[in-house]
Symmetry: C2
Subunit: 440 residues, 2 copies
């Protein structure tokens, strides 16, 4: 018999696939094993179901002054980069990337990938995130780490090799990834092929990568139009935009996750919309690195599918989806002078349901019977969220990591009343501190 | 004998009046009564001084994995408005203000002012803020409340009356304010004259208010150029900008706090710079209400004195200066495409020293011998701030309310290891919840 929990007398907030948000007051939710078995207002029905499924062996979690809602899925992260947090800020992008980050990345060893990744999982869980699209090298190290920590991940696979200065696709990377995954909880893992961007690889590599992705039915993770310079260089080299060029390689599909998309034109947005590409918007990183303000309003109007990401901790410098929700709304309103656009309900949907769909987990992100039990408990019994007002507004505009009391992933508590249950945080801190001192 | 504390082995971060920031590792700080008596690296000197001043009766506060830095001074707030948190979001400005906020404000009774104000103090203290410029009615109610809670405030006084439809200055308001202050801790209180804006009063009232401010040596608190509509209307009515018009009334001096200043031209910035006006920048509120992006870069270049504010909890929806520091930097970088401007050290100075100066507390906001003891303790032993990296970047780009462990104001702990010491929070929550239900 698996684990059963009766969440009793909560304010339950969830969005639905039609973008509507429902708020149920004095509501109940039953979890058994990895799934939601009941959501509703009847204490009797909830009690009956939890007794039946668990043989009366269940926990009751009290919901006074608490919200139960879906956890977040962070659709763009570079998780091991938490070891570079706050080492180089207020730099011009090139000085930052080529002067400060890449030279340190070149010195990374296995433990840096492992503990940096775990540190990010700890930070994300503590801020209500249960799932991330991790665009980073080290899949064979970090995928087992995610799984042991009970964390959902869409992990990128490199899938390319360079022999005598010539690049080609590399099936071996994919095979090795799946070999590692065999021993892990497959519920928690999706793979994806890393295509860094249109500017980092030689032209002939792209078709080979498309072929590889198609052969293994892998989604593609790619950065698109993060900066004006990227667009200008693409125009010079290829005579078209990054979206158009990647599309010419058949890289844009309804499983592709395209990060940033700050500088698009209508033709680009049309393509992204038509192909069903997931756009991972990264408001903090785009502002901090001065990439610009992504035009989410125009994307939304053209039915481009939007989700949210934090980017890496070296360019944010947090991995907190509450911050990204708020900034997505703020940036959209501030840059258009229209306070009604990208309302709280929409950014909440982007951060929850759409993030999960982008990461390939189709039965997560909504609090409904039959869905996977990825749930967070928000304690609003604190000055920053009091009095509650509209719970959706409160989640987007007032809530933060301090209010996250518990997080459940796939039916397991990974944060239980403010304590991480699966991560040896002291070890993680000791190891990442050593790394920072070594790479300083 | 007063209270003495030896802060032992901390990372001490402070800015100085030349905008430089110093970071002292393994440092010590001695507090006695309301003042800082020692800051430095010598454990021996610190021990000698604390023993001398306290007769060996002192507390030792351990600094392992902790930062000691100045508390924030929030230079623009409407504190009792916390009772309107999350009731009306994603509205157009006029619908929000005239449809949702003002009708509720018209129904406010004494307890709403009192407990809304206390709720804001609780939220601010928990997020490292020790001082606020409170632009709101109810001074006779809220000033004693601030003082009892041990919180510094620059409180606005209304100073105007309407008889038979004719407005004039009202000395009685000022006299009553000072009468109330007589019984309070004068260390914690500054007064200021509320001049809402150039658009809310009849023209003849402004010179009368200037005269009142001059007679009582009162600073003036005013909203300037928050929206384009405000500027357009001012141009239509007076043929000039709000800055120019207020300046023509001699309302702009080196004690004036001008909130927002989103839409200025070079002539406006020249005047603000020349007069030494304090500009309270409110990035969250300006983005959320879609007022626009204040051009802090141009203001800074022209030596306009910048500080930071949260605005009211109804338009933010937090009162968290960590958020405002980050967004000030993000907005400046994102809107100019220059990631090097408004670096962490500058926004930290704006949020600390400059905020205190704007609020009229000249011996606060710097961790130096002889200054008032307004101090916060940041616990960076947590995933969101780990590994620490550059402490100034970490405070601005990674820290948040969750990491604020203790806050001392005027030498008293008002937050001690995550517990509020002077506020009956259960009472405050019960009363503000009743208010929200009454005004819903």
């Amino acid at each position: 018999m698996g684990k059963a929990v009766l969440f009793s007398d909560f304010t339950i907030v969830t969005s639905h696939d039609d973008y509507s948000v429902s708020v149920l007051e004095h509501a109940y939710c039953v979890i058994f094993n990895d799934r939601i078995r009941y959501v509703g207002s009847s204490s009797d029905d909830a009690g009956k179901i939890v007794s039946e499924v668990s043989g009366n062996d269940y926990e009751v979690y009290d919901g006074k002054n608490k919200i139960l809602c879906p956890t977040f899925a962070n659709a763009h992260a570079h998780m091991s980069m938490s070891i570079f947090r706050n080492i180089a800020d207020d730099y011009a992008l090139n000085d930052w990337l080529f002067g400060e980050i890449i030279p340190r990345e070149d010195k990374m060893i296995e433990g840096d990938f492992r503990y940096g990744h775990l540190l990010s999982i700890a930070e994300m869980i503590e801020s209500g995130t249960a799932c991330a699209a991790n665009m980073y090298d080290g899949a064979l190290i970090t995928t087992p780490v995610s799984s042991e920590a009970g964390f959902r991940v869409q992990q990128t696979i490199m899938g390319k090799k360079c022999v005598d200065g010539k690049w080609s696709a590399n099936e071996k990377d994919v095979d090795e990834f799946y070999a590692v995954c065999k021993n892990l909880n497959s519920d928690l893992i999706q793979g994806s092929l890393l295509v860094h961007s249109i500017y980092l690889y030689p032209e002939e590599l792209y078709p080979a990568l498309t072929e590889l992705a198609q052969k293994y039915k892998l989604p593609i993770s790619v950065h698109i139009s993060e900066t004006l310079v990227e667009n200008e260089n693409c125009m010079k080299q290829y005579g078209c935009s990054p979206v158009e060029k990647l599309n010419s390689f058949n890289m844009l599909t309804d499983t592709t996750v395209a990060a940033h998309c700050v500088h698009l034109n209508d033709a680009d947005r049309s393509i992204l919309s038509e192909k069903g590409v997931w756009v991972a918007h990264n408001p903090s990183s785009n502002m901090k690195l001065a990439s610009g303000f992504a035009d989410t309003m125009s994307m939304d109007k053209m039915s481009v599918r939007l989700c949210l990401g934090t980017d890496g901790a070296a360019s944010n410098n947090n991995q907190d989806m509450f911050m990204e929700m708020r900034l997505a709304a703020f940036m959209a309103k501030g840059s258009t002078l229209d306070p009604t656009i990208l309302p709280a309900s929409k950014v909440f949907h982007m951060a929850t349901r759409n993030g999960y769909l982008a990461c390939g987990f189709s039965d997560c992100g909504i609090i409904e019977e039959g869905m996977k039990a990825d749930i967070q408990i928000i304690d609003y019994d604190c000055p920053q969220m009091w009095p509650l007002g509209n719970p959706v507004s409160a989640l987007v505009y007032s809530c933060g990591p301090k209010c996250v009391e518990s997080v459940m992933i796939n039916g397991d508590f990974v944060l239980y009343k403010h304590e991480l249950t699966k991560i040896d945080l002291e070890r993680v801190k000791a190891e990442t501190k050593k790394t920072m001192e070594r790479l300083r």
